[in-house]
């Protein structure tokens, strides 16, 4: 649909402008940068932290630490090397992994991360504001999700994913390809949704 392309382009331009604006504010060490980052990336980054530590309370600690790091490192961001989100993602994911390690090395009694925390995801998905996102996630078959998960969140190599999930490497590769294609299909509607939300105020 050509309309899709138009909205896609428009959204792309808007998000690029927003990104540029935030980066400028960051480099000027303007506090507003953090507010804008929190508004536009906070939910996603909290999700990222939660995917790693699998405990929402802990994930919030991670998010706070990550934002302080983002603030401190703001002059080290290089837009020629990574998109803003990629940079934010790296910091958040690494902070989450460090947190998980420190929690695990502490006496496990203090913070028990057990299977019940995993259900946090389930609780979240009943919140109305996440219905669209959850719906979208459900559009991707779980067998593809697992592979995407291994790649993007667990940082596994394809070989490691193959070993870990006990799936042949070839299957991993093809599922990854399909998973990414499915992901792209979601793009359009999600972006339109985001776009319409952006246009309301």
């Amino acid at each position: 649909m050509p309309q899709h392309h138009f909205f896609y382009d428009l959204h792309y331009i808007m998000s690029t402008l927003l990104e540029k604006h935030i980066v400028e504010l960051l480099q000027e060490r303007d506090e507003k940068a953090i507010s804008l980052l929190y508004e536009h990336y906070g939910d996603t980054l909290l999700g990222v932290a939660n995917k790693v530590v699998r405990n929402e309370e802990l994930a919030q600690d991670v998010l706070q630490e990550s934002f302080v790091k983002i603030w401190k490192k703001s002059d080290s961001y290089d837009s020629s090397k990574a998109k803003l989100f990629t940079w934010l993602f790296r910091i958040t994911r690494n902070t989450a992994i460090d947190k998980l390690r420190s929690v695990n090395t502490k006496s496990d009694k203090e913070i028990q991360i057990d299977v019940s925390d995993v259900y946090n995801l389930g609780v979240n998905s009943t919140r109305p504001e996440f219905m669209d996102v959850r719906e979208n996630l459900e559009k991707i078959e779980s067998k593809y999700q697992i592979v995407l998960d291994a790649l993007f969140f667990q940082g596994m190599t394809q070989q490691e994913a193959s070993d870990e999930l006990d799936i042949p490497l070839g299957t991993i590769k093809s599922r990854l390809k399909i998973g990414l294609r499915e992901l792209k299909k979601i793009y359009g509607p999600t972006l339109l949704l985001v776009l319409s939300l952006n246009l309301i105020p």
Partner: protein, 252 residues
Amino acid sequence: MKEKIQQFLDSDLLENYLLGTTADTETLQVERYIAMHPEVRETYDELQENLETFAKLHAIKAPDALKEKILTSIRKESMARKYFYRFAVAASFAILVSVGAGYFFWDQNQSLQQENAIVTNKIDDLEETMREQLEDVRNQFIVLHNPETKKYSVKGNKKAEELKAVAYVNPVKKLSYINVSKLPNLPEDQCYQMWAEVNGKMVNLGIIHEADSQEKLLALPYSDSAVGYITIEPKGGNQSPTVENIVANITY
């Protein structure tokens, strides 16, 4: 080259780089590939897009209270940084000032020490000179007022008939002095020089200056049978007396 790129894309390096888990050398390698090969750049950009989309699917509502907490801790961080910079600036300024002051005082101390050394030397010299002069005056006093002192009148020979001098010799104290009261004028390039032959050795006693010769008592080295001579010598004095120019001799 195509194969090499494919090989690179098949390795998990780009994915690891995306997540920020590559080692430093790997990071440089990946960044080089991205910069040099458009197809790698394209794959990387696509991965970045996919990552963002996939991550968004897992979003959880971040509470507003957390935002406030974050902003508070960032303000604290900025404050600490600001104070640190202020402190650093103040500290470096203080260090600069104290280094400057330190150098100034060191320099001053150094020159004061030099001055001190010079003054001490001068005082030592003065003391020495005064001691010598006092000793001389004391001896003169002894010689002149001692009843044992013998007084000899000295007169010049044909070469200097006007020459008049008085020698004082005290054999008890073993001191002898001479007072040259009158010296005939000499051409510009000549001068009178005093000598003494003591135990067969000729001792140079120096040039007699007309100006001060009348008031001054010139010390002579004492010996039981010494002879004093006055000679005419070229200006500036001579190493040994010119015998034919002897104008007076004093036996004492």
